[in-house]
Amino acid sequence: MALFETIKDSIEHVVSGRKHTVMVAIALAFDALDLSNYPDEQDTNRQSLHFFQNRAAEFGKPAVNEADLDLFDTRKNSDQTSRVNYLNALTEDATPADQAQPSLDAIRERVEASAQSAKIVDITAYREDPTPTFPLAHAEPEAQNDNPVESIAIDDDGNMSVFPEAA
């Protein structure tokens, strides 16, 4: 039973660690995509504030006070570290409200689903090589520029598309 609990804890540790990484990445992305970098945009900070309000509620914080909101208003606070620390505290110290602890079966189910959908691309190659080249293995350099992926596009109906039609 002890071994079972150890394995369960170990898996949960990895899963929660990954979630934490992504949450921090999202916070940093909002910082990097901030209004100050793109002066024509008006609602960036407001979107960020709403995002963090929702996250705070999710992690059991009953209310976000003005000081917390100011922390994420980059017009009032330019300290990115303070925002990351705040998010760390949220995700490390708090348990999401109204959520039961996961069962090992539930975690296994999710992991197995992940394994079944495993991709050919070895994503970890990026970690080892800051200038990945593996996607170029089968591509013609000239052809790569025929269909550049310029942006993630969203049409007037809110539908997102990212790829110009292939030639």
């Binding site: 949960e12 540790h13 990895v14 899963v15 929660s16 660690g17 990954r18 979630k19 990484t21 992504v22 990445a25 999202i26 992305a29 909002f30 990097a32 995509l33 970098n37 024509d40 945009e41 960036t44 979107q47 995002f51 990115q80 959520q99 602890q101 539930a106 975690i107 999710r110 992991v111 689903a113 992940s114 959908s117 495993a118 991709k119 691309v121 994503i123 990026y126 970690r127 990945p132 080249t133 996607p135 170029l136 089968h138 591509a139 013609e140 052809a143 790569q144 269909n147 550049p148 310029e150 942006s151 993630i152 969203i154 539908n159 997102m160 598309s161 990212v162 790829f163 292939a166 030639a167």
Partner: protein
């Protein structure tokens, strides 16, 4: 001595298991992330995922009219002073305003459509 050796082997095995699980989680995120942008054209493979705290990856593969596999990998680096973008390992450049807006929307969707469902109990 033997006990120390066995402990070391167990630690190594556990580390490998953690690494393998982390890879599987990222791959699952990549698959779900690729579905955020609407229907994927037949014959295409699309992935969008958070690589680490500072990096987002968008990867596309498709077969062109000559039957050759084409790929485009776009890497977004989050820096304190903005976002830098690199495609297929080329040099970095800054984003246009429209692309920054779209990327932000994509990351918001990533949270609601990928992170929340996948890690609902984490």
């Amino acid at each position: 001595m033997i006990s120390k050796l066995l402990t070391g082997m167990r630690s190594k095995k556990q580390l490998d298991q953690h690494t393998d699980l982390s890879r599987k989680l990222i791959r699952r995120e990549a698959e779900l992330g690729g579905q955020l942008f609407g229907e994927i054209p037949k014959g295409h493979r699309r992935e969008f995922f958070c690589l680490d705290t500072h990096t987002w990856i968008w990867h596309e593969e498709w077969i062109d009219e000559y039957g050759a596999l084409q790929t485009t990998t776009t890497r977004y680096e989050m820096r304190p002073n903005g976002v830098l973008k690199s495609q297929n390992g080329s040099g970095f450049r800054t984003l246009t305003k429209a692309e920054a807006d779209n990327l932000r929307k994509a990351i918001q969707l990533y949270h609601s459509k990928v992170v929340e469902p996948l890690y609902a109990h984490a």
